[in-house]
Symmetry: C5
Subunit: 154 residues, 5 copies
């Protein structure tokens, strides 16, 4: 039985963690979910680390929704840097699912984007853990999570 | 008996650490506070680390008030990066409470914002330590500390 | 028998990993390839680390194609920082092969550039592993990968 | 007998280390100074680390004067990041005293600022080591080093 | 017998490593040189680390010539950050000698600047290893490598 960690925030305006968990359950079996909610994206790195160390997760999905201001961009950068550091300490993947508020033109699109990216990256996490050959097959295919795939250059 | 570290600065123009401690005491019991004051935000990471290692804190609240100039923004970024690093070394949370001088339109609002954010993040620290289910329940709810919550996208 | 890791992404729009492997095989023998495909460039650092630790690679080629937006530039920076960190942890080289979408004026040139840079850096990886004297001989020669060499200042 | 490390540079245009040492001696006793001069600010992190590890310092004051160009700002940022890292490795404070050339309107003011900031931060280092209660008492008081204190918001 | 590592790149347009080695030999004796050439500046951190760990160097001179574009500036920043990290891991100095293409107004000046900075920093490396008192004597003297010294503020 594998364990998939889901770390999310109270700052996000959409239940991204909930969508990821729902999609994981639709995608396959053989795992249980460990959820860990923190205030904001800068709290995600240590949450991911604790999911690895204390709850023995095999992979973590870290979800957040950084704001549109300069300071929010810096926060997201710090969080991402920390999430990469965690992976190197744990030797395990953390799939970062960040949706920047200014990626969408309004609240409705933001909610749509956050749900879709959360779901598509949940499948990526599942694939890394259970069927990495699906990723290998798609190397260089121009895949995207959230908005449409751009596809390979033919 | 848990220990909550409160690291703050002489640079800040408001007693942010004092507000955090006051709010912690209003929020619950079962902990004692360890306070550590340093000159500026760049001194906070090692202060937090020492609060974990030497004073056996279970969580740290790190409070600071970066200035409005470019150089201050860089200092805050360096401090935040260090605070995330500390968390990964200690496997414990540091709740960063930074109020940037240019977030407020005048000194009065700055003082109001610093107090409110310090108090609200003190509750976050308490929740992470004593009642994490309160955070889980609020996943994706668009919560903010200081200014008003923006709320979830409905 | 040496092992050369090839880490690439499903985000890239060209099969950069495939080109690198093809070029390695044209260049010499005495190695086998371990391939590892991940979603995006931020997943490359831990992939490289795992190629070193779990698949016993002696060197890794990490290939990706960051987008043209500001956020993509930041992602690439985070990935590069992580790749340098991995090298210091493993004491082994990771040859980073990133092609930024805005380096090329259209999709056709982008594909050409990605193939050529992947192939030329594959030879660099081979040289670092099997014939470092080829690099020493070219110190200060103004070599480039992808676009034309600029050459030494005479 | 405590040891206070003073790391400074040949790049600075003012003997900042000398001012810090002079001020330390005026401030108190119970310590000896270990001085370590390097070419520029990017050499300060390892100098500080060696002052801790090889010369058994209890705290380090790291002084430098970054230039006014963009590249100098980046150097200063790299140095500061390294100095924070050193602190986390040593579990001891490094008081960074950087004076950016463009903080002052001319050479005379630059020299004045560098001396004053060096002296005031020397006292901070002394306080962290010998009388931390002086810092606690000033939490949130809007203190500055070099230019005038802005003071607390009343 | 000390060992001085010289790490340089095939990307640079001038044989910076060669100039550094030549200057070292003119400056003194008691050391041997270990040279390590890599493709670009981002490969320098692990080269420096390997020079310390595998070839037992006591100090490393890392030379490179970052390009003038934004992406090159980011690469240089990543390399510099890595070089500082290496120093903290090894507890030894790495003297970074980077010459940015846009520091010079044409190719001729670039070559002149690269040679002169390489030579002057080679002496700094020699001094750190064999006669640190020469650096102490020059603390705060406004020394530069490449262009003219600006000198102390009198």
């Amino acid at each position: 039985m594998k364990r998939i960690g889901v770390a999310d925030t109270t700052f996000a305006r959409v239940d991204m963690g909930g969508f990821a968990i729902d999609e994981l359950k639709k995608t396959g079996t053989g795992f249980r979910v460990e959820r860990y909610t923190v205030p904001g994206v800068k709290d995600l790195p240590v949450a991911a680390k604790r999911l690895f160390d204390e709850r023995e997760c095999d992979i973590v999905i870290a979800l957040g929704m950084p704001g549109a201001n300069d300071i929010d961009k810096v926060c997201a950068h710090e969080a991402s840097t920390g999430l990469i550091h965690v992976q190197l300490m744990a030797n395990k993947h953390v799939i970062e699912v960040f949706v920047h508020e200014d990626e969408a033109k309004n609240a409705k699109e933001l909610a749509w984007l956050a749900e879709r990216r959360s779901r598509e990256h949940a499948v990526n996490a599942y694939d890394l853990l259970f069927r990495p050959e699906r990723l290998s097959k798609n190397a260089g295919k121009g895949l995207r999570q959230g908005f449409e795939d751009v596809g390979p250059i033919s």
